[in-house]
């Protein structure tokens, strides 16, 4: 299985090649892959249902606890089947939708890669493997949303989706690491089967918050929901697949997966119920607000995601049953509806529901599919959606906490949902025929197969819930989510109870709302200013804030004033050293002054030379002064037994002065550019540094307690190295490697200088005259002139 998943990435990568071989039929060929996987999963189902779970071990990075081991239990099986089956449908559908699109091959790369990632996500046993696939779904989703990349909206939306989900991903990483640390294992199977109760662990709260953040962003919970409608910039097959059936449910999957270990605490119940319910209501409410068919569906998806979260929050056995049922039902009808929306968009050239109508005669099959799916959506019997809604309302009514709130929210949401369902499925097909940008026809077969299959699924699973082992599968899934055996028996009829009544009432009210939609929408527009201040505005201002912060920081730190850079560096150094030597320890040194007059004079000349070089108003005065300092240093070297050094210093000093003089000729005189404040400030910094250095020298010199290694060098200079000048022996023998490096340094400096002086103004660059001969000619011409001193 792992191999199959990994092969999926290769398959994705080779899709351009497949396009060369199969042309337009590539989608069908590719669809065989998820179909095959689905079949394989289906074959595993009995065993999974029998044993509860199946572990397929495969190591990857054991030292980090990263494995490619797959954990196949009811939950992952349910998700896996949804992913592969809907994936196959979507691939076939996309082949029709994007027919003749030049970038179809690239689309396939991303889509197949996404499908594989998603599959990996739900199958992963390793915490980090889960994370890896999680991130991959974000990335592939980014590529898919930005498919129409020349459109700025698509780029922006893709970026937004990526940022929100990746931000959550980072929380996920932190959460998973904390989970791993707390549980002592990096394997989900082990964590789920361990005895230790993580709810008691000190890290529980931070861990949970991180994980919830991850789940909420990925599954578009309020207030992170705004990216999902924007993601509708993606081609419709993508919306159908990622943004309704699969990816957005990854967060839900995560919550469900961890529910047995982390769920049920007050924190969990509180956050999940409230956030879920709020999301549900907000999603449903916002859906009503839009006329773009895809946005309508997107908001209704948010509503569903909220519902699922809420159910996980409630956590009762009913809720678990409702959760798995609702999940399955939603994937089926919403997938179908999105594809229908795509057909409408594809055929009519518009996405605006108010601009469509009376299309049933020209596209009867589509209309039927839409009707079936919408009825399931609306929760009309005998479709699967009805069962789901029934169970949901039941759970809400049985909730331990926030019962009233949840019921109210659920009820309102149900009404709104029904209205949305009708708007999507009835409005375009019935009533007055509108003129659309394109002349509509029935969609091609490839675009009908997928939605038809899904709609059929909704219908059949509603009518005969046990068909294809539906009950068993959902039982297994619910068991996995609940953490204990939870029997699921689906039925269209649970008797007349409050849930049924609520359901029926909402149906009526929903239909009424559908009828009065246009006027309601008009009245809702007064809320627009409020909505503009929603979470999305927060996101925008955060993004702007980053840029402003960045600009501010650059002005503050990287402002181009080098003296500020130097100041910061020095103050850092001074502060650290000062703190260490003065505050944390105390400097200890003996002040033992044994000085001859001439030595003092020379040292004085040196110091005064340096001082005068800094205060001199004349550049060359400063240079001469530096020369004096250099000669004094040479003399110090002589007075303290270093003739080689003295000679080197003298020569270097002389040559430096010559270089300076050669260069200064071109430069202007000193001018006083600093303010006196700056001079005082710099003076203080400089003086502090000087005092510290002075103290350090004294300390270092005073505390010497080891035999220097040079004793050996002195002893062996003649016997082993055959040289009388020990310094030279060190340079060319003991430490010849230093000298080797040093001569290269000098050579490099020379190369640099020569290049700097002779290679200039683009001279000799390929853009000019081929190979730089012109520079040479110029110089040659000049050297012919008499030298002018």
């Amino acid at each position: 299985m792992q191999l199959a998943v990994l092969m999926g990435f290769l398959l994705a990568a080779s899709s351009p090649l497949l396009h060369r071989w199969f042309g337009q039929r590539t989608s069908l060929v590719l669809a065989l892959f998820p179909a095959g996987l689905a079949a394989w999963l289906a074959l595993q189902a009995p065993e999974v249902i029998e044993n509860g779970s199946l572990l397929l071990a495969w190591q990857w990075v054991p030292s980090l606890g990263i494995s490619l081991t797959f954990l196949l239990d009811g939950l992952s099986l349910l998700f896996g089947l949804l992913i592969t089956v809907i994936g196959a449908c979507v691939l076939v559908y996309a082949g029709g939708y994007l027919k003749d699109h030049p970038d179809l091959a690239r689309f396939h790369i991303a889509l197949v890669a996404f499908m594989v990632s998603m599959l990996g996500l739900v199958l992963a046993d390793g915490l980090f493997t889960l994370f890896i696939f999680w991130e991959l779904t974000s990335i592939t989703s980014y590529l898919l949303i930005g498919f129409n990349h020349s459109d700025i909206e698509a780029r922006k939306s893709a970026r937004q989706g990526l940022f929100v989900t990746v931000a959550g991903g980072l929380a996920l990483m932190a959460g998973l690491v904390l989970l791993g640390i707390a549980s002592g294992s990096w394997s989900l199977a082990e964590i789920l089967s361990a005895d230790a109760d993580l709810r008691e662990h000190a890290l529980y709260t931070p861990m949970l918050i991180c994980l919830l953040l991850a789940a909420f962003t990925k599954s578009a919970q309020f207030p992170f929901h705004f990216w999902l409608p924007n993601a509708m910039a993606a081609p419709t097959p993508v919306s159908a697949y990622l943004h309704s059936a699969t990816m957005v449910k990854a967060g839900i999957y995560l919550l469900a997966r961890l529910h047995p270990e982390l769920g049920g605490t007050a924190l969990w119940v509180g956050i999940l119920s409230v956030v879920g319910a709020t999301t549900m209501l907000v999603g449903a409410f916002l859906a009503i607000h839009h006329t773009n068919i895809k946005k309508l569906l997107a908001y209704s998806t948010i509503m569903t995601l909220g519902t699922l979260t809420m159910l996980l929050g409630i956590g009762s056995e009913y809720a678990m049953t409702a959760f798995v049922t609702f999940l399955l039902a939603h994937s089926l009808y919403k997938g179908a509806l999105f594809m229908v929306a795509g057909i409408l968009d594809h055929e009519t050239g518009t996405k605006d529901v108010t601009q469509m109508g009376g299309l049933r005669p020209v596209m009867p099959i589509t209309a039927t599919i839409a009707l079936v799916a919408a009825l399931s959506f609306a929760g009309v019997p005998p479709l699967l959606g009805f069962i789901g809604k029934e169970l949901m309302l039941e759970s809400v009514l049985g909730a331990d906490r926030f019962q009233m709130l949840l019921v109210l929210f659920a009820f309102v949401a149900a009404i709104l949902t029904i209205a949305v369902a009708f708007i999507v499925a009835l409005r375009p097909f019935y009533g007055k025929r509108y003129q659309t940008p394109l002349e509509p026809h029935e969609a091609p077969l490839s675009m009908l197969v997928g939605p038809a299959l899904l709609a059929l699924g909704s219908l059949l699973l509603g009518l005969v819930p046990a068909m294809l082992g539906g009950d068993a599968l959902l039982t297994s899934a619910a068991t996995a989510v609940a953490g204990h055996t939870t029997e699921v028996t689906l039925s269209l009829w649970y008797g007349v109870n409050i849930a049924l009544i609520m359901s029926m009432v909402s149906l009526g009210l929903g239909f009424w709302l559908f009828k009065r939609w246009d006027s309601v929408r008009g009245r809702l527009s007064i809320l627009n200013p409020v909505m503009r201040r929603g979470p999305e505005a927060g996101y925008e201002s955060m993004m702007n804030g980053i840029v402003h912060l960045s600009e501010w920081q650059t002005r503050l730190l990287q402002n181009g004033y080098m003296r500020n850079y130097i100041l910061v560096m020095l103050i850092t150094l001074i502060a650290l050293i000062g703190n260490s030597i003065l505050l944390r320890h105390s400097p200890q040194f003996a002040f033992d002054l044994d000085v001859r007059f001439h030595e003092a004079a020379v040292v004085g000349c040196m110091a005064m030379g340096a001082l005068f070089a800094t205060i001199s108003r004349s550049r060359l005065g400063a240079v001469v002064s530096v020369g004096v300092m250099g000669f004094s240093i040479a003399l110090i070297f002589i007075l303290f037994s270093a003739p080689d050094l003295a000679i080197t210093q003298l020569l270097v000093e002389t040559l430096t002065v010559i270089l300076l003089v050669l260069v200064l000729f071109r430069l202007p005189r000193f001018s006083n550019l600093s303010t006196s404040f700056e001079r005082i400030r710099d003076g203080i910094v400089a003086a502090t540094m000087g005092i510290l250095i002075c103290m350090l020298i004294m300390t270092s010199w005073s505390i010497q307690q080891f035999e220097p290694i040079s004793t050996y060098m002195i002893e062996n200079s003649v016997p082993l190295a055959h040289g009388l000048n020990i310094v030279n022996v060190i340079l060319v023998d003991y430490r010849a490697l230093d000298t080797l490096g040093e001569m290269f340094v000098l050579a490099l400096a020379a190369i640099g200088v020569i290049a700097m002086l002779k290679l200039r103004h683009g001279e000799g660059l390929p853009s000019e005259n081929g190979d730089g001969k012109n520079g040479e000619k110029r110089n040659a011409a000049i050297t012919k002139e008499p030298y002018d001193g």
Binding site: C605, F631, L664
Partner: protein, 89 residues
């Protein structure tokens, strides 16, 4: 003898200091350069005396180098002046 050397060193040190004073006072570049020349020549003398004092003849090598190479700086400055560099700089 040591006293003599000490006196010699002191005198030459004073000479060094005086030369340095001229470097500081200038006023023009040639004045400073001449002072630098004198400074380096005095260093040669000091090195000679120091060699005598310590008995280390190797120090004289440094003196040779100054005697042979020390005037290059002055030539550099002269070139600067002759090419039109400001002399009161």
């Amino acid at each position: 003898m040591d006293t003599v050397i000490l006196i010699g060193q002191v005198i030459m040190s004073v000479a060094l200091i005086l030369a340095f004073v001229r470097v500081v006072r200038g006023p023009s570049l040639p004045d400073r350069v001449v002072a630098l020349e004198l400074f380096s020549t005095t260093v040669v003398g000091l090195v000679g005396v120091y060699a005598i004092k310590t008995g280390v003849a190797s120090f004289l090598d440094a003196a040779i180098v100054i005697a042979l190479m020390g005037f290059l700086a002055a030539i550099g400055f002269a070139r600067f002046l002759e090419r039109g560099g400001p002399r009161d700089d």
